[in-house]
Symmetry: C2
Subunit: 308 residues, 2 copies
């Protein structure tokens, strides 16, 4: 059984979209990553994150019920859980952050549980690059380290972020972030420059426009599934990353060919995430739904053409 | 040999992009459509359009050299050719129109040459819906009518445009136009509403984000090929439409399965169009380049996944 270590925030989110708004609900990068990865079989998923004493048992139970190991989820006595609040615009592609309360994240010093020090796959969700680096320094020769990050760290901690990037095998960032990080507008050029920074694989997420995987001189593109309704994009990128890492952990194959499949699995899971608020849809997801929608991805993209 | 009738503007364009600017060069929807379609074999391509006396013989020669029939290209004595000037922004996805001089287009009454009245495929490029309707009324039971249009006509001639849409088999419009025409933000819902207006097939062009084909309950997506450099997007949509229609005319097969291939061929041709200013790249295009890049589309999108 492959071990998958998921690092990132476990949080309260408060979300407004044109379709409605939520109270404080379960959120955070590690949450979405682990929930997404838990749809795969024969993997041992552990979380490294931090919460406050205000984090409810109901949410803890969600992890337990899915066999997501939370030995690495530190509870800070008297502390308050990280809180993020945001409002999506009408196009659902852009959002304003209304409030960010770091709380227990402010002094978070991650400790990887002994059981996960030899994890085959490490999925570093969006967090301070110092936390990500600390985890990289603790784990022992994982087969694959996948990094997700955000423009916020490019603005505030670029030097450290670049060091983290140099240590990972796969980076997943969105198109604007790829442009910012590389100084190149063309995503082909941007990916090449980012590969030169360290990662063999670069995944550029384009939200509703799909995702690109770059490796050596090869490119692969997975569309996002066009949907009837998008209710809430929160967590879609993390769900994508969790599906990507979870599938790789299950299949124990980190070839380019298998990464293409992993990108499709990630896109498949993300397509469900956005259909309801927060983690709601991810908590109801049935295996049959996943398989049936995978077939949609196939019919959406596959064609036969005579190349002779 | 299938006959393909191409209707649209033949124009002078003056283009500015972040990479440079042109003098007055050859442009127009019918020009790009016909040039693109001329890459296919065994099709008889005719243009219906209008020019002024200022249109140079060199440009006429371009059509003649590619066996594009210009019997339907009316020359207005003393008239001036339609002129459009535009400037692209840094993102190359948005542009400002700097100048539009309708000139001979203002009183254009199209006459389909007798030889093309029984054209199998009619490609109606962007033009006043009254001109498009006149052509529809002249041709005799074509196998397929493809319509391209723009938001300009939705703003100014919606009622007439809706009548034209009700008469065609395929409509190609961009994502914003699909949203405007349908009043739906979701492209899945937008396509359904537009299909209810008449066309069996709806193609939604998303520029650098690819194109979607909708038919009954099916969807197909073709990515745009990620490129090192995009110099000038002018004519890309028309080149896409010309490749789509040209391939269908060559293969004499208007099934959904073959339309998927046609979308890939259209995307392939459009990927070349944007690599140089105006029609420059389209005039140098070699058959080998087209085939080699088609293989890139295949490797970009094709994957094997176990659905059981």
């Amino acid at each position: 059984m492959s071990k998958l270590l998921c690092v990132g925030t476990v949080a309260f989110d408060k979300i407004e979209t044109p379709f409605g708004k939520t109270d404080k609900i379960l959120g955070g990068a590690a949450t979405y990553i682990a929930l997404s990865a838990s749809n795969f079989d024969n993997i041992d998923i552990g979380i490294v994150s931090v919460i406050g004493e205000d984090f409810p048992q109901d949410y803890i139970d969600i992890f337990n019920k899915r066999n997501i190991n939370i030995d690495g989820l530190k509870v800070v006595e008297g502390g308050k859980t990280f809180f993020w609040s945001g409002e999506y615009h009408n196009d659902m592609n852009t959002r304003d952050t209304l409030d960010t309360q770091l709380n227990v994240l402010e002094n978070f010093d991650p400790v990887v549980p002994k059981h996960y020090l030899d994890a085959e796959i490490v999925m570093l969700g969006n967090l301070h690059p110092a936390v990500q680096m600390s985890v990289i320094n603790q784990v022992k020769s994982p087969k694959l380290i996948v990094l997700d990050t955000m423009n916020f760290w490019m603005d505030s901690e670029l030097e450290l972020l670049v060091k983290v990037i140099s240590k990972v095998d796969v980076i997943t960032i969105n198109d604007e972030e790829a442009r910012q990080l590389s100084g190149e507008y063309s995503l082909v050029k941007a990916a090449r420059k980012i590969r030169d920074m360290g990662p063999e694989y670069v995944v550029i997420k384009k939200g509703e426009h799909g995702a690109l995987l770059f490796y050596e001189d090869e490119m692969f593109f997975a569309p996002a599934l066009p949907l009837e309704e998008v209710f809430d994009p929160t967590g879609a990128g993390d769900t994508f990353a969790g599906g990507f890492a979870g599938f790789l952990a299950q299949s124990k194959d980190i070839s380019f060919k298998n990464m293409k499949r992993a990108i499709i699995h990630g896109s498949n899971l993300a397509s469900f995430c956005v259909e309801k608020f927060g983690t709601e849809k991810m908590l109801q997801l049935q295996d049959g739904e996943l398989k049936s929608r995978l077939a949609n991805f196939e019919s959406l993209t596959q064609f036969e053409i005579n190349l002779t």
